[in-house]
């Protein structure tokens, strides 16, 4: 009989040997094995650190004008060279980066939030679907520039008064970009939610008394993470570039406030004489976007338990 019971235990599925561990450790484990994600993560960390901590080590002010040493190439005094007013490009890259990265990330988050919110509502509540999708059409159709002008007109002064100059403009720009770029996310998320809603586990969740709000946060949202991640990666790039377009139109930050987009835009005129002026900001934007992309890929894989198990 011992023989038999041995077989019987054997007949049960092989048990896992790994001890139980926290979800986040799992995520981190999986994340670590994704080479691209690690590289992306490290790079992004370096960029963020360089941009926010850099100024502590490189204490030239980004707006300090040293007219005698203008238009210089890279040197020890100015590793990235100087611009047409003799401002140190490294310092400007760092200052610009902190604005651009903050704007990129916050605007992207805002757009994601709006897009996911609208998308989830439209997909989940049949009644809201029509109106919300028409709203999306409306926003897609609205001309961006007049919209921004109106926003500037209505909100610049109150925001300046409430949050101070820099904060006010920051909030304004971030919301302007966010409000005008959530629509694709909303569409994608809605499509996924529509499909997800028909899945049986949603019905199952309902049968155990899960309320709608919990249903959305616990069951629907985690499962639409993957398209949201993709939108997020693309969103950062769009936000950084849109910001530069805004500055160019005189709708962005005050002129003494460098951002990568603006540095790139200003540099374009000097493309032939001083190519490094476009290379630095161009490289910075591309690297940020790339690193966020790989980071997003890795995160998506890491957050999806089905892939993580493999």
């Amino acid at each position: 009989m011992t023989e038999l019971s041995k077989t019987q235990t054997e007949l049960n599925q092989p048990e896992p040997t790994k001890p139980p561990r926290s979800q986040w450790l799992d995520v981190w484990d999986q994340f670590k094995t994704h080479k691209g994600a690690m590289m992306g993560g490290v790079l992004f960390f370096l960029i963020v650190a360089g941009v926010y901590l850099g100024p502590f080590f490189w204490d030239i002010d980004a707006t300090q004008i040293d007219i005698r040493s203008r238009n210089q190439g890279p040197s020890w005094a100015h590793p990235f060279g100087t611009d047409q007013l003799g401002r140190d490009l490294l310092a400007r890259m760092m200052a610009g980066g902190s604005t651009s990265v903050s704007v990129g990330i916050t605007a992207m988050l805002l757009a994601l939030f709006l897009g996911s919110f609208v998308g989830v509502l439209a997909g989940f509540f049949k009644r809201l679907d029509g109106p919300l999708m028409r709203l999306t059409d409306l926003f897609l159709a609205l001309p961006l520039l007049p919209l921004l002008l109106v926003m500037m007109l209505l909100f610049r002064e109150p925001l300046n008064a409430a949050f101070g100059l820099e904060q006010g403009i920051f909030i304004l720009i971030v919301s302007a970009i966010g409000i005008t770029s959530w629509m694709p996310t909303a569409r994608i998320v809605r499509g996924d939610v529509l499909a997800l809603k028909e899945r049986e586990f949603v019905l199952a969740a309902r049968s155990i008394g899960t309320t709608n709000s919990k249903l959305i946060t616990r069951h629907i949202l985690p499962n639409v993470l993957s398209p949201i991640m993709v939108s997020a990666t693309l969103g950062i790039a769009t936000a950084i570039i849109t910001e530069s377009a805004l500055s160019f139109l005189g709708l962005g930050f005050p002129p003494d406030f460098p951002t990568w987009g603006r540095l790139l835009f200003d540099g374009v005129d000097y493309l032939q004489q001083y190519p490094e002026r476009v290379i630095w900001p161009g490289l910075a934007i591309s690297l940020t976007v790339l690193s966020v992309n790989y980071l997003g890929d890795g995160l998506r894989d890491a957050l999806d338990p089905r892939i993580r198990g493999r």
Partner: protein, 546 residues
């Protein structure tokens, strides 16, 4: 010989949208139209009037202008025909005046006809213009690119409210100029061909002309000087290094000319603080807390390194100036000198005036009010560089500056609903450039008159942007309107200029020229800042051998 040199191509980075200058007023439209329709007389490159459709320039001495300065009589040169072959007569000239002075027409050049009471045509070749009062400078109507003659036969049905409906006419006016329109694509491109009926049978040398619009100044400059795709590029407002680099391309040459265009900083004489109630902000009710203090504005001016500004922003196309009206040469005052920066002097001036930093924050205070200014301008690379530099310099004399740049179409758009227009001037200082047409500064100087200040009652319209108000100035300007003698007029003008600058209405920065570029193979280009740049397109030709 006419038509022997093939095609000439011109690029304007602003695209013409209409070929009827009376309906637009935009430089791009006026200049493109100047290839087709012509005035009786134009200014040449020196600002001197030369007859075009008229046989000579009427003056008091030759009897063309009446002694009491209320009448001018133009004689039309013989043998001029419209491009459709019909003869050009005084009826066309009179019609042009009627057309523009029609109350419902919305004519952009109405000021040219200021004070005109009647236009008479005693015969086919004579035009008599009568003014309501003595007009020392009677060359407003029918002179210069802004006031060309249009054909009566063509525009007869386009008077007043009907003007905008005449698309064909507005897009293809029949003219007397060297070229005729073959196709007009609004805001894009115009193709023209040589006028078969042009008065000089040997001109124009080019059989066809392409006038491309749109893009940006960099691209236009590149297309002429680097790739050689175009023959002529207009108004290249670019950093000097960029121009130099382009010139090194070897295909074209930049040319500069100086009109009365001045880049200046306007000083708000009134308080623009956002704490004031709407409707009282930036009005004469509340004088500015410190900008009217001579020590302050003089120090601000002294702190500025103008030669550097010129070098960085305009290069060849700029000159240092301390004057509001630096051209024509006769009216250029020599009272002030400002070509060296003097930070120490500025600081001393402020210290002596008792305007010092009392609380140690690096910013001076006057009567407890810190010297913090909001400095606004339109969005434009050079202006932003200027802002950055000037902010830096002012910080060295204890003035803190907040920079703001605004979309040009909002800033210069007169929308009374927007807080960001240059007329509303919801800032302490603002920078832009202004100029006048022709050579007579009288009405331009009138921009300093007390009652021309924009205010809520006038829907914020008015040319006295800095709300400058000076009794002596107003009186002197009145005198100017009565004076006919050229030297006397010039002297008064210089004094008006001095009063404005001395009393802190503005800080002139750079006398800006116009920088255009032409291909090395294009001959006959004479840059003219007093009239249309294309004024002598009839004389252009292709240089052989290159």
């Amino acid at each position: 010989e006419r038509g022997s040199d093939g095609n000439v191509s011109i690029i304007y980075w602003q695209a013409p949208s209409i070929l009827n200058p009376f309906l637009s007023g935009g430089t791009k439209d006026v200049e493109s139209a100047s290839l087709v329709i012509e005035p009786l007389a134009r200014y040449n490159q020196d600002g001197v009037m030369v007859p075009f459709l008229a046989s000579d320039i009427p003056t008091v001495s030759n009897g063309g202008v009446s002694e009491d300065l209320t009448q001018i009589t133009w004689k039309i040169a013989p043998g001029i025909t419209w491009s459709d072959g019909t003869p050009f007569t005084s009826a066309d000239v009179k019609f042009t005046a009627d057309y523009c002075m029609h109350p419902e027409g919305g004519c952009a050049q109405l000021t040219k006809f200021d004070g005109v009471t009647s236009v008479e045509t005693p015969d086919d070749m004579t035009v008599v213009v009568t003014f309501d009062k003595p007009t020392p400078f009677p060359y407003g109507p029918f002179v210069g690119g802004e006031s060309p003659i249009i054909q009566k036969a063509q525009f007869e049905n386009c008077m007043g409210a009907k003007a905008p409906e005449c698309t064909t006419e507005n897009f293809g006016p029949i003219g007397t100029g060297p070229f005729v329109v073959t196709e007009f694509k609004p805001n894009d491109v115009i193709t023209m061909a040589a006028n078969e009926n042009y008065r000089d049978p040997a001109k124009p040398a080019f059989a066809t002309l392409t006038f491309k619009g749109g893009g940006d100044a960099t691209a236009a400059g590149r297309a002429v000087m680097e790739t050689g795709e175009f023959d002529y590029a207009w108004n290249l407002q670019l950093a000097p290094e960029v121009i130099a680099q382009m010139e090194a391309g070897g295909k074209g040459t930049p040319v500069a000319g100086f009109g009365p265009l001045v880049e200046r900083i306007m000083l708000n004489q009134t308080n623009a603080s956002p704490d004031l109630p709407e409707g009282e902000r930036s009005t004469a009710k509340h004088p500015h807390p410190f900008l009217q203090d001579p020590a302050v504005y003089k120090a601000m001016s002294m702190a500025i390194d103008r030669p550097l500004l010129v070098e960085i922003g305009y290069g060849k196309a700029g000159q240092v100036t301390c004057n509001w009206v630096p051209a024509p040469a006769a009216v250029n005052s020599s009272t002030f000198s400002c070509d060296t920066q003097d930070i120490a002097g500025a600081n001393k001036l402020l210290d002596d005036a008792g305007i010092v930093d009392t609380n140690g924050d690096g910013v001076r205070e006057k009567d407890g009010v810190p010297l913090k200014v909001v400095y606004q301008t339109s969005t434009n690379a050079v202006r932003q560089d200027f802002q950055a530099l000037i902010k830096e310099w002012w910080s060295q004399i204890g003035i803190e500056t907040e920079l703001r740049n605004l979309n040009a179409s909002v800033f210069f758009g007169g929308d009374p609903g927007s807080p960001d227009t240059f007329q509303k001037f919801y800032a302490d200082v603002e920078m832009y450039a202004n100029t006048f047409n022709g050579t007579d500064p009288q009405s331009y100087l009138g921009n300093g008159l007390c009652d021309k200040a924009p205010k809520p009652e006038s829907q914020w319209q008015g040319e006295n942007i800095s709300r400058f108000c000076n009794e002596e100035f107003d009186k002197l300007h009145g005198e100017l309107t009565q004076t006919a003698d050229a030297d006397k007029r010039a002297e008064i003008a210089r004094r008006l200029n001095d009063i404005m600058v001395e009393n802190g209405g503005m800080i002139p920065l750079v006398h800006r020229g116009r920088l255009s570029a032409h291909a090395n193979t294009l001959g006959g280009v004479v840059l003219n800042v007093w009239d249309s740049e294309l004024w002598n397109a009839a004389d252009w030709y292709r240089k052989t051998g290159s």
